[in-house]
Amino acid sequence: MIVRSSEINGPVRESADVCIVGSGCGGGASAKVLAEAGKKVIVVEEGGYYTSKDFDATEQTAYQHLYQQRAGQATDDLAVTVLQGRCVGGSSTVNWTTSLRTPDFVLEAWRRDYGVRGLSSKELEPYFERVERYLSIHNEPVENHNPNNRLILDGAKKLGFRASAVGRNTKDCVKAGACGLGCPYDAKQSVDITYIPDAVKKGATVFANFRANKIEVTSKTKRVSGIVFDHQTQKPKTNFIIEAPVVIVAASAINSPVLLLKSNLANSSGELGKNLTFHLTSAVLGVFDEIMYGAGGIPQSAMSDEFLNKNHDGGGFWLEAVPVYPTLAALALPGFGSIHRELLHQYPHIGATIILVKETDSNGRVTVNDHGRASISYTLRDKDLGYLKQGVAVGARVQFAAGAKRVITLHARLTEFNSPDEIDHKLAASNWGMNEIGLYSAHPLGTCRMGSDPRKSIVDDHCQTHDVKGLFVIDGSVTPTSLGVNPQVTILAIAEKSAEWIAGNFTDIKAR
């Protein structure tokens, strides 16, 4: 059953075997596995419940109803925009469908540097396979790439860089391009139309517009309490308490540490909320003679991974395409006023390539602000800044190789190249400080990191907190390092594995 707050008339008091906070990749996959194992599962989700009938493929509706802070979430200094979903299905409801396994070198670093066991490529293989089958993950044939993705394949090939199609979790996709606004065709196999309905079929209850504010641990049980919001006005309506011996925090890498910090739990290491990685993202915008219309067609279907871990230092960057929705484009374009407005007149001719940096030395932190919400900070350090600069240069070269007539970066001051020869010296003269270059993240991770040492990590190999037995974190916050690839498959696979372990050891976990 999925319960909307409009159906709630008074305080809610419930009990369950497992209470899950958050219904995105981590929460949704955990709910399905545990419900199928016969557990009574209750999921509380702070966002609303919407279906494809509600998705009108406009930024206005999507940002208001489906995104955290109406897509305005950012670091405190506004230097990095942090995009996340806030609805049943979490970020998967608004994500761009790229579906990739965790690279081997990343899993190996988790084992080597953080003592993580049970998550080698071989051990994760059955879970990756299961996720790929369940979500119909497949590569798109060449003819399905839109011009914005094709430019990566063509440009990279001309320069001799590796590039290929990426897996997508879709079924009968009609190439509408609205993945980031909620798929109106139910083609995207996001968590809201896959894991959640299957969990519900097995008896799970999902409460939408329920925000968890606190977890309390008693000798007998755990108590998750919070506020029920009115679906329309977003004003508090009533409150809820769910009691369960097992609680899974799956509120994302931004909001899971907030909930745990407010509850004063799982932080004996002092690491809670730290180690935030962003998969820091900037972009280059090529202006082409032909119509690119980057808002239409499959938004993300190709990538170039030539420069990921090329130096075997665990860092580097990766190129992908991005849907060029009008507001996203307007916010990304440099400057303001008439210059900015003129640039937007090129809108149909713009091809956008994003550069995603796998961090090595940079990281951030989530703390709790005076209003009990997330306060996000991030420090970009030299090595990753070097990769960002290199990535912007490579992205611009790829755009030219694919036929761009000029290429614009996201620097606040208009920085444009009319030929590849201008790239290096113009970039060398540019400012790269905070709010001098547009930076984004749709992949925040790592704030409750996994590891074998309780002094340096929050959860163990099964995503159980070192400090509190029966309290788990299963979402993007458990990754010990930046992934270097889009994270949904990693999170889903870890969630399936951890939830399976909880189901198999439930009596033991419950007894402790």
Partner: protein
């Protein structure tokens, strides 16, 4: 180490990091910009949810310059109701963000601060168009991180209120998304 990124400026701190600190916020409220806005204040919609009438006018004036003036036949800030949309949008924002924006409008507009930052003793709303642009440019490119943050805040709200509205799409050649047949 990258100097700018290494110093983490939280939004809460950003105004407090001005040259002379928050004490001047109260001084700036004594400045005469209110009187200069008097005529226009009567045109501000009633029942605002977030802005004070004065803030509404300041924001509208900022948004006009950030979005850029329309060519004939193109929609402007007033046509799209950018300030009213922003009022509704910001009423639902994080309380922390709301507090800071109220402070920002005071600082951004007050002659005291325009003088402090740019040696112009005139409130933002009363500057000429080109002066407004160069004042905004100074915020965008300032060596002080908090001013660049403030510019970002103003840019984000202005542009997102304009370009999420379908009336702005024709000009840029955006045709909307492809919807299922029964919902077109």
């Amino acid at each position: 180490m990258n100097a700018f990124h290494d110093r983490v400026t939280t939004r809460r701190k950003f105004l407090k990091e001005t040259l002379f600190g928050v004490a001047f916020l109260s001084v700036s409220r004594l400045m005469p910009s209110e009187a200069l806005l008097a005529g226009e204040l009567s045109q501000v919609p009633k029942n605002l949810l977030f802005f004070s009438p004065r803030e509404y006018l300041i924001f509208e004036s900022v948004a006009e310059r950030i979005i850029g003036l329309p060519r004939p036949g193109q929609p402007g800030v007033k046509d799209v109701g950018v300030a009213s949309r922003a009022d509704e949008f910001l009423a639902g924002a994080d309380p922390e963000v709301q507090d800071q924006l109220h402070q920002l409008f005071t600082v951004f507009n007050a002659p005291f601060f325009t003088f402090l930052f740019d040696l112009r003793f005139v409130s933002f709303v009363n500057m000429s168009g080109p002066d407004k642009d160069s004042y905004i440019l100074d915020w965008m490119t300032s060596k002080f991180g908090f001013r660049r943050t403030a510019f970002q805040a103003l840019k984000r709200v202005s542009l997102s209120m304009f370009y999420t509205d379908s009336r702005s799409w024709k000009e840029i050649g955006y045709e909307g998304m492809f919807m299922p047949e029964d919902r077109r």
